[in-house]
Amino acid sequence: MTDLLRLSGVHTHIGRYHILQGIDFAVAQGQTTMLLGRNGAGKTTTLRTIMGLWQASSGEISLAGERIESRATPDIARLGVGYVPESMAVFSDLTVKENLVLAARDGPLDDAQLDWIFGFFPALRRFWLSRAGSLSGGQKQMLSIARAIIEPRKLLLIDEPTKGLAPAIVMALIECLKEIKRKGATILMVEQNFFAARELGDNVLVMDNGTIVHRGEMAALASDVPLQERLLGLSLETHQ
């Protein structure tokens, strides 16, 4: 399987802090790779560095063989990278429709794609002309994800989509992301919810102190309780 995204020796500094300390990993085409680790390990910084929102101090980042570490964020987005930030960052003063119109860069909204999205996010249809700021947290997350998939993307970077959501909403989101996976999307996802990570991940990377401390198949980590406890300080059984 070919690698869509590859990071080699990537370092990122934010001010005087050395956050990413030489990370190397690859995300295979059509696979979902989970990025796990405790708070402050560098997961969000990794996604933001790939997206160009923070500049890598050194190292190489390539997307489908093309170097992107020096490119501006809009250029990286136009190469086909969709980004769902941790804060969701929906445009609160715009309606749901306007948020999606803006995300559909290359033309009008595609009805078939919209119907597909409404299929698992019916709330977006219900609140189509409502201000995004009036949505609940779960609905905002749905809009944020819908915005990332309104047009075909090569790669989706998703930062903690289940954070702060009620369990029922988390289950709905997991089903939605599974559907997106089935359509062949390549996803790099930061997740603290180990249950969601196990449900969605093909591969897993575990970060600590700005470095990758474990890489492998998600299924292997999910079945190895001592490894989970060593890497994450918890086990799936206690987390559920």
């Binding site: 997206m51 809009p74 987005a77 445009f91 609160s92 003063d93 803006l102 249809r125 219900r126 002309l129």
Partner: protein, 336 residues
Amino acid sequence: MTELAATDPLPKPKRDIAPILLPIAVALVMIPLIGSPSTWLTLTAASLAMGMMIFIMASGLTLVFGLMDVLNFGHGAFIAVGAYVATLVLAPFAASLQADSLWINLAVLAPAALLSMAVSGALGLIVERVLILPVYGQHLKQILMTTGGLIVAEQTLYAVWGPQIIPMPLPTSLRGSFILGDVAIAKYRGLATLIGLAVFIAIQLVLNRTKLGLLIRAGVENREMVEALGYRIRRLFLGVFMTGSALAGLGGVMWALYREQVHASMSDDLTVLIFIVVIIGGLGSIGGCFIGAILVAMIANYGGFLVPKLALVSNILLMVAILMWRPRGLYAVTSR
């Protein structure tokens, strides 16, 4: 989550109309206080005209503030430059301005206003590239740089045009008033109101009916996310800054004609009013800026008539009252 049936109509957005009702309520409350209906109508018309001119000058600042997070204390320079540039056209054609034909008068006024907008817009380009670009994200430095820029601009105007006040008389056809019964409404105020409304409608159409407008509104709220969607917002910043500067230039011409004079520090008092309007309206909100400008003008006119001694503090009191009601302005732009 309740799913709508396919045939259900999609819900309409709720409108927050309380701020829209506020100037209407203020005007209605003033009727018994002022007593004479004709005086009330004259003051209301004057308020609308003054409000429109302040709106034109403030609209660019609120967008720049909201979209670019730039504190441009030099915005007044574009107002003064716009007014002075207009004199370059109006002075040589003074005879045409005295002609008793509206069309001949407008044939001189329109190019003067367009030239003012072009020069102010071009000055905006230079200011953004030279003064603002190095200090994005640094508010204190922005205040220092733009205040310095304002001083340089004012002194340059003194050096080029001299310290004297330059008269800018109204064209003949815009002098005098429309008489409706026993109500007199100055013709120029009528024109200013129409131009202000046209500018407001044009901005609203661009912001609400075009993708460019969507980008500006989204950028006001979250620049980073707009870039993550693949849009180069820096170019948009520059375009908005130039447009805001050009509108300030237009406002400068209109204000100079309203006062019938031009001087280099003409924007000093206006800058305070404009900042009050931008804060009252909610940083980055064009609708709020529009209502805020009308409210400021109403308080100045009604207040000046009823309690002249309060005129100096009336706008500050208005700002305090509005911010106590809505701490982020009439129409708060979220997450800013």
